[in-house]
Symmetry: C2
Subunit: 363 residues, 2 copies
């Protein structure tokens, strides 16, 4: 087992990463001093892992309240959130009852936002079961739900007490979701860790083959990068925005196609190819760099061609993105592989050019 | 104009209290650096003060987006909150666009919770227009909405950048709401400031007569007390709970009768009489103290007799209150006038006795 720490003064917390951690009560008990926990999961993950977790907790005298939600990004909304509140109130959970998220990014975001707002905030524990959640969304405290007019438009920063990542849960992850998680692994290399990008190029096939050592290393190095960024900029007033590489384009794709049609990681991959294409058109990175990026996504079986929505529709969708400040579009672009920056003045003609031919990428 | 400060490190903020402050742009401008603000108000306060505020801001080049909500506690729910999100998104408000609450406690709670959660948090300014909001709810960062199963069950702590209290707005406050605000003024004296309680006894009639000097002093002394409590315990892990004197009983009353039937301050007054009655039954305060409390409420034209719901119904309603910890009821009781404490072991027989005869109070 690896343990990292996210250092945020009195809100610091450990990330435990290892195989079979769901069976280790000593990782959970320090955060459950009151004998009771509300476990939020979904209809896919629940049948696979809920009983295992409950058994571990119950053998230590911890009672569990299970809240099983429907699966899918399209349920990341107020109605689903309210079913969590209903269950918490009906079971008389109070301010000291922790909420534990057992599932992927959607469950973490929903359960985390419930924890941030139930009785103005209760303790929260992340137990991510998808690669995407393990390398990205479970760390850093972003929680929230979607609004019909935009993704993640309503939410809060709410740090967990601990992230407990059992890599054994990846055994049952569908191939497509494994690939989507690799997109976020690649992202860390692109924005701030060229060595890790090169590592991901060499190990993409092993990751896809679920080699345990490769997965463990990918998760640990990703979490280390994420923790450093969050420690420097918890509330995304600066550097943390770089983690959104490919996300402004990606959110536009998800929004246009309807949440849940493309997986988040898929949209981020295709969105990153657009960001890389724009960076190249602006003379920042080379065509060869773009080709490396496209190649690693292809190795990971991720889409590299964004849908052709027309430049105007893209711009409209991106205008509602919350990365817009003072009415001006801010994009995360690449200065080189391993170095991203916030660009507030990308030439509109170049942006439109890239958006007009979203499927045009190097072969 | 009086200015107090709530000292919360990097989240400290001023409270300005004075007559005619809505006409003073220099109080607003430091918090509106980006030329745009979303003003949340309601159908009662909007027609009275929105144009005045807009004129002040527009003469300084600040554009306003007005969000006018229906008036009343029964609208403090998700549906109303969502109309704020809709307006913010339709007007392309981003993370830097402040939300300003122009209204009473319900508007402050709704607008504040919108500010806490829109794009995971945007700047917030309180401009309270009721006495209750001016002396209590606008200070300290509590925000939230009601849930069908309980009041304020969903919310967040989100401190404003400033509280700007124009006492001229009290000119149009209905008598009943003025009285409800006085209930919270009396509360500070009861829980931690015996001199201020004695002051409120001497000045209750002047407050009811809207004497400007009396109102200004009541607001300033109340805010000073509130600020000290919040500074010591922002997230209500200890002393801040004392501010809930009368609230556990009061919430039960509001919940039983339907939110909005009794005003919050009215329920708190009647609830405080129950808390005082229990404190007296437990031998903590004297019958004479209870009589003083009843007398000051009567001077302020507040109800002193809680509705007769039956002890069992009261206990049921109180069991869902968020002041319950680990399944045990915690009540705020009085050791003497000017000193409240959290009581976790009030004898059930005495509690039931008080709840069985809620209208039985000294004449």
């Amino acid at each position: 087992m690896h343990t990292l720490t996210v250092g945020l003064a009195d809100r610091s917390y450990p990330i435990h990463i290892g195989h079979g951690l769901l069976a280790r009560p000593e990782l959970f008990l320090p955060h459950l001093p009151h004998g009771k926990v509300a476990v939020v999961t979904n209809t896919t993950v629940g049948p696979l892992y809920l009983e295992r977790l409950k058994a571990t907790l119950e053998q230590s005298g911890i009672g569990t309240i299970a809240v099983v939600l429907p699966d899918g990004e399209q349920h990341k909304n107020w109605e689903t959130l309210n079913t969590i509140f209903d269950a918490l109130l009906q079971n008389r959970c109070d301010r000291r009852t922790p909420i534990l998220a057992l599932g992927g990014g959607v469950i973490g975001d929903l359960a985390g936002f419930a924890a941030a707002t139930y009785m103005r905030g209760v303790p929260f524990i992340q137990v991510p079961t998808t690669l995407l959640a393990q390398v990205d969304s479970s760390v850093g405290g972003k929680t929230g739900i979607n609004h019909p007019l935009g993704k993640n438009m309503v939410g809060a920063f709410w740090q967990p007490l601990a992230v407990i990542t059992d890599t054994a849960t990846l055994d049952t992850l569908p191939d497509r979701e494994l690939s989507a998680g690799i997109a976020e692994v690649v992202k860390y290399g692109l924005i701030r860790d060229a060595d890790f990008f090169a590592w991901s190029e060499r190990h993409a096939t092993e990751l896809l083959g679920r080699r345990p050592e490769a997965l463990q290393e990918a998760i640990s190095r990703s979490c280390r990068n994420k923790a450093e960024v969050v420690e420097a900029d918890e509330r995304e007033t600066g550097e943390r925005a770089l983690l959104n590489l490919g996300h402004t384009f990606g959110h536009a794709i998800e929004n246009a196609l309807g949440y849940g049609s493309w997986l988040h990681g898929e949209a981020v991959a295709a969105g990153t190819v657009l960001a890389a294409g724009l960076s190249s058109a602006m003379g920042l990175i080379t065509e060869a760099d773009v080709e490396r990026i496209v190649r690693v996504y292809r190795l990971a079986r991720l889409p590299v061609a964004a849908p052709d929505l027309g430049a105007d529709r893209y711009l409209e969708l991106m205008g509602l993105d919350k990365k817009v400040q003072g009415g001006r579009l801010r994009l995360i672009l690449l200065r080189r592989i391993g170095e991203a920056f916030v660009c507030g003045d990308a030439p509109e003609a170049l942006l439109k050019g890239v958006l007009s031919h979203p499927a045009h990428c190097p072969s």
